[in-house]
């Protein structure tokens, strides 16, 4: 029975790419299967806004 690692090395990875779309596109160009998820940090990383939004949204 193959280990998970052996399976991964033999079949190639399926990648989940979070955030910057160019990372996913670059892998797709190389024939890698990619699932892209649009994501960015809440409030663009603005800590004060993120804290406020916790209370309001």
């Amino acid at each position: 029975m193959k280990t998970k690692l052996e399976e991964l090395l033999q079949n190639g990875p399926v990648v989940i790419s979070l955030g910057v779309r160019e990372f996913a596109e670059s892998l797709q160009d190389q024939g890698v299967e990619v699932v892209h998820v649009d994501w960015s940090p809440p409030a663009g990383g603005d800590a004060e806004m993120a804290e406020l939004l916790d209370k309001l949204l």
Binding site: L52, L53, K55, L56
Partner: protein, 417 residues
Amino acid sequence: MAKDIKTRIETANAEAFRRMVAADPVLVDVAPAGDVIPGLTDKMVLHSGPPVDWQRMSGAQKGAVIGMLLFEGWARSKEEAIKLLEDGAITLEPNHHHQTVGPMAGTITRSMWVFVVENKAFGNRAYCRQVEGRQQFGDSSQEALQDLIRWHDTWAPALRAGLRQMGGLSLKPIIARALQMGDELHNRPHAASSLFANAMAVPMIEAGIPKEALISTLRYLAGHQLFFLGLSMAAAKATADPARGIEYSTVVTAMARNGTEFGIQVSGLEGEWFTALAPPVKGLFLPGYGEQDAGLDIGDSAITETVGWGGFVLGGAPGILSFVGGTPEEALSYSRDMRQITVSTSPEFLIPALGFEGTAVGIDVRKVVQTNIPPIIDTAMAHKNPGHPIIGAGLVRPPLDCFKRALIRFAEKYGLK
């Protein structure tokens, strides 16, 4: 406490959304501004955007204000007009403080005829001037003023006679049809302009308008593809105003620019402006003009985006891309993005290219800040200096700082800071 305020906000925003989609804008008159706009007094010029004084006004807006002083006969030359403005003899106030909106520099004085749109669902009225390609961009030449004079002397009175003959014109059916004909009702209101001309032609003939004025007005309507923008702006203002002043609502009720600052207003923070430096517009220039000539973002016309038209429905109006730039795929993604920052979608204004889904309505300040996605606006471009007609068109986003400032103020007002 925190949970309670979230519920209150959701309830308030649902009410703001309900009022916006329930709007029933009807063109009831075309009239001299001084007869109908509340608080518009003698020697007063209304302008687009948040409040701004003469010294801080953008070049295009200064040029347009000078044009209005010449149009009214308050000054006989540009120099005399500038002297009156520097001496403080002319009052300058935002259109939005008078239930009014205006394209680009947005200048309105008492003798300028305006559209009167009544929202029959709530009984409020809103006003907007006509759209043209010169004076509203800051050109105060005799040629530019000729268009205002023809509007005043011939075209506006003819439209008033036609409207009185027909007893008013409901705008909602025209808007709904135009959105399905490739319009976005901001820089591409071509279908709506044609539908309006169709609706007005027979009543104007029936009204017995003298032949010369009738032909001139019909020719004006038939040849003016952007005509309906003045009506979509008035309809949008009449739609947004009932959503003002709902306690706890974080829904945006106005987005407006004066070429110096971009400002937004928020339902639960009635009467306040949240401003930041107006951004540059990215787009395409008319021959003879380039980036070095462009002024910053200007005009009240973003009231169309405020109620979910304009840039929000670019996906359904790919024809406009030859004017503002971009690809059909980008246009579709802009429209989809707008759903992330709004309360819900319109049950009546449907976009075929988006699978007949409704337009995104009710910009929520919280969602804009959370997602870091500012609203998308398509717009014309004015020169940075006075004295020029339209120089191009493109796309622009409001500064996020407007929304962040509103959120901070909201937290203060409602006891969270």
